[in-house]
Symmetry: C2
Subunit: 134 residues, 2 copies
Amino acid sequence: MSDAHSLLETAGLRITQPRLQIARTLFADGLDRHVTAEQVFARLKADGVHMALATVYNTLGHFVEAGLLRPISKPGSDASIYDTNTSSHHHFLNETTGELTDIPAGAIPLDLLPQPEDGSEIVACELVIRTRSK
Amino acid sequence: MSDAHSLLETAGLRITQPRLQIARTLFADGLDRHVTAEQVFARLKADGVHMALATVYNTLGHFVEAGLLRPISKPGSDASIYDTNTSSHHHFLNETTGELTDIPAGAIPLDLLPQPEDGSEIVACELVIRTRSK
DNA sequence: TCACATTTTAGAATGATTCCAAAACATTGA
DNA sequence: TCAATGTTTTGGAATCATTCTAAAATGTGA
């Protein structure tokens, strides 16, 4: 039983071929990644795996709902980016290069967040530090 | 001499009719706004002002460069949002409603930001707190 | 006012994402 | 193991935001 298989199982997702392939692509090596749907699609193709692009979009959406991925607040006007690191952390966004780098949550003390007025509850909190190459 | 006129002047932008119209639409009442290009276009149209949609996009882009507007890190996969409040502050994003609310910079202590490793410099820093209606 | 650079324009083009209806698939209970 | 049922997947078309293009209009400085 592969890692990907148990990952889907634990997440409460139905086990299907496409989901397994995408899970392997994203999580096989345990590295943190920032990916777009197109990038996942291209990588699958490079690995000889064919799949409809719409399936990649759907699946990434399912992964987000299931807590396997986290959408990143979008920087430029580019494509949606998904983060394989779902634990709380932040990002540097280099506006010159478009590069996105992780900042561990511990690096920024955020103990006292203001509460929303309307009675809604906080589900996540992400800081984006924009930088520019000198 | 209208407010809009001197605003453009101060910002170092050439004074043109379209820019004046958009500046008035955005800044006339001094309120803070979160707007998309389409919203500005619609509002102009409602006020009987015709202008090419591309002009709205171009102009908002120029306003950002000139420091009159600030682009907000994009929440969902929607349109780009511009903030008429260019001073440092943060946002609540209600994921249920899509609503974006200001948080004054003072409400969140962020004194010690980590420095980017690559020698680039910090130009802005924005926290997005995602909430969900209960 | 003239010449020149910058803007604006309308519409086409692009790119990301979603929608669609049909075919393939996974699951469950008999 | 099989049929019945609900879920996924598929490819292609459709949609939406945004940018591009080349021409016409406009602003500026001499």
